[in-house]
């Protein structure tokens, strides 16, 4: 039930945002008279359909749950350690992006691989270091040297 409510809330919220943006654009319609339909109505229409289907989805899922003896959707039990791994990965990605602003591509990629290889399941620090150096070098050669992609310059230093 909790999951269903959350799902419906997100969908209705998205629909409502679309509708409110549409209304704002309809009020501003004088700016683009040449377009009969205008961008606002499209957003209102989309938002309305999304909201209606979300509510229909809620009703149908609720009926199903009641039909199955009042039991709501049972979510899969997930261990804390499994979620911890996902949260760690996301945190490493955030750190990677921030480091990229501060130190440039090479250093941040090295730190990223160092952390992510540990989280991914490598146990020995020696193998982590070896794999990290190899991966960083391969990525630098491929994307920076060969493909010539220009990454942001670091604010503190640039490697």
């Amino acid at each position: 039930m909790k999951t269903l409510l959350m799902e419906v809330f997100v969908a209705v919220f998205l629909g409502m945002i679309s509708i409110s943006e549409g209304i704002r654009l309809v009020i501003m319609k004088k700016l683009y008279k040449f377009d009969i339909f205008g961008p606002g109505f499209y957003n209102i229409g989309l938002g309305a359909v999304l909201t209606i289907i979300s509510l229909a989805y809620f009703v149908s899922e609720r009926k199903k749950a009641l039909g199955a003896g009042g039991k709501a959707q049972a979510s899969q039990p997930v261990g804390k350690s499994e979620y911890r791994k996902v949260i760690s990965m996301v945190s490493v990605l955030i750190i990677y992006i921030i480091l990229m602003y501060l130190t440039g591509y090479l250093f941040s990629t090295f730190v990223f691989f160092l952390m992510i290889n540990r989280i991914a399941g490598f146990r020995s620090w020696l193998s982590i270091a070896g794999v990290t150096v190899l991966m960083t070098a391969a990525f630098y050669l491929l994307f920076v040297t060969w493909m010539g992609i220009i990454f942001p310059r670091g604010l503190l230093f640039n490697f």
Partner: protein, 496 residues
């Protein structure tokens, strides 16, 4: 003549190399359970911007149909479908492995795939130009009909119709972020400068499929292994005859539905298996290791994959998530998908079609003698693949516009993708809605401007009217077909 020219063009060293890489990667992706062609094409998409467009599309196409070949390997050997389209192959393929006949099953799957792939390439050469010529007469109302028709795919991309529709609509709302394409009015930007430019397709796709998939794999643990023997490779006598005949029947069953949006390879494979069972003299033996049970679905899923290139190239309609990403690639290279593609970029189109013939031959060579190697590749654990894929996703999201905003977008959509997969929500409809949303809005508003706001324009133009009627018919038809498909198959399709 055009085809010969395309074939010759494809035989240049560069194009052969891209075709080979595409087929190799496709087979690899097909072999590795959990990593689907849509995700891989999405991950590679930004990298291909640095390559020549023809070579890139040859590579991405090879990857797509190569995955259909490779998908059978793990289905047969370890009862884990590398691709959703190979789910049905498990039923008899794994039974054949248990009986020590896995070599024969792999042989017939490869030959069936080759027959279907080559047949698909021939029909693509024959039908493509005609359809494109006709479609050139299309105006905005016809495009609305066409886009509505392709949106029927939303129904089949999810195990739940409602979830598919909701995800598709959410994608369409996300497509409206940024400047309105007709008036330039900024929408849904919340004062963020990056959002005023709109959400770029690549970071969204890379996030949802690439990052989301790795996060999910991290949560679920490392993939499994194969340590068996292949046995005798070539089937003989009755098995050979039945296998080849079933391949031809599977090709026919898979090809024509494959032209319709929403008729995914996984569904046509199921249809082919179902039909094969009905025409068989021994239907009760299906599921116990019958060679037709491998040949027919494998041929069908390959035929459908190849058929999907016709609506993609001639009308700009993708019939599956992978083809939707190839469509995005075409747009990214500045090639307008649709009827004009055949006229304005003749050399490109025919080279890609030519590459399909070459690619199918390459895949046959790659899949028959090297099958043992592919079987062992499924040993690669996610702890090696995961970090590499994440770093490629990062570059992939950044490189199209060289902005860090897109990397944040990819990360956010990665989390969204993970949560959606975890909660059983399909990703493909969201991408489809996002991809088609813009074009649909422009065509709809242009049509209404033409008619002074009246909806009658869609009924007064015969082609538009026929397409809208077809949309309704196919929607009903698809829902009926889906009722006969096991729910588990659709859930599997969502996952991959």
């Amino acid at each position: 003549m055009d085809l010969i020219y395309g074939l010759l063009n494809c035989l240049t060293l560069n194009n052969l190399f891209y075709c080979f890489i595409g087929c190799m990667l496709g087979t690899l992706v097909g072999v590795l359970p959990g990593l689907g062609p849509a995700s891989t094409i999405a991950i590679l998409l930004p990298i291909t911007t640095y390559l020549d467009p023809t070579g890139s599309i040859i590579m991405l196409s090879g990857l797509y149909y190569g995955a259909m070949y490779g998908g059978s390997t793990t289905s047969i050997l370890v009862n884990i479908p590398g691709e959703a389209a190979s789910v049905v192959t498990c039923m008899d393929g794994f039974q054949m492995t248990k009986q020590g006949r896995s070599g024969q099953a792999l042989w017939v799957a490869a030959i069936g795939s080759f027959i279907a792939g080559t047949f698909g390439a021939i029909l693509c050469s024959l039908l493509g130009p005609g359809i494109a010529k006709y479609a050139l007469k299309f105006g905005p109302p016809e495009y609305v009909g066409l886009l509505l028709f392709s949106m029927t795919m939303l129904i089949t991309l999810s195990a739940s119709l409602m979830k598919g529709l909701l995800a598709g609509l959410a994608g369409m709302v996300l497509a409206t972020v940024g400047m309105d394409p007709l008036t330039g009015a900024p929408r849904l930007h919340f004062g963020v400068v990056g959002m005023m430019r709109g959400l770029e397709l690549v970071p969204v796709v890379v996030g949802l499929f690439g990052i989301g998939e790795i996060l999910l794999a991290a949560e679920q643990g490392v993939q499994n292994i194969y340590r068996g023997k292949l046995g005798k490779m070539t089937p003989r006598g009755h098995d050979l005859k039945q296998g080849l005949l079933a391949s031809i029947r599977g090709t026919m069953v898979g090809y024509f539905p494959g032209l319709i949006p929403g008729m995914l390879p996984a569904l046509t494979a199921f249809m082919a298996y179902d039909i094969e069972k009905r025409v068989s003299k021994y239907p009760e033996k299906f599921g116990t290791g019958v060679i037709e049970g491998v040949a027919a679905p494998e041929a069908a899923n390959n035929a459908s994959a190849m058929a999907g290139f016709i609506p993609l190239m001639t009308l700009g309609i993708p019939t599956s998530a992978s083809l939707a990403i190839i469509l995005a690639a075409l747009v990214m290279y500045g090639l307008e998908p649709g009827p004009a593609l055949f006229l304005q970029n003749k050399q490109f189109v025919w080279t890609v079609i030519g590459s399909m013939y070459v690619g199918n031959l390459m895949l046959l060579v790659l899949n028959l003698p090297l099958v043992g190697l592919w079987a062992r590749i499924s040993l690669i654990p996610y702890k090696v693949l995961g970090p590499i894929i994440l770093a490629v996703c990062f570059v992939g999201a950044y490189s199209p516009r060289n902005t860090m905003f897109d990397v944040w977008v990819a990360l956010i959509f990665g989390i969204v993708g993970f949560v959606m997969k975890k909660k059983g929500w399909p990703l493909a409809p969201l991408i489809l809605g996002f991809l088609l949303g813009d074009l649909f809005e422009v065509s709809l508003r242009q049509s209404l401007s033409m008619s002074g706001g009246s909806l009658s324009i869609f009924w007064s133009r015969p082609v538009a009217a026929v397409l809208i009627v077809c949309t309704v018919i196919f929607a009903v038809f698809t829902i009926k077909v889906l009722r006969r498909v096991p729910k588990e198959l659709l859930v599997e399709e969502e996952k991959l």
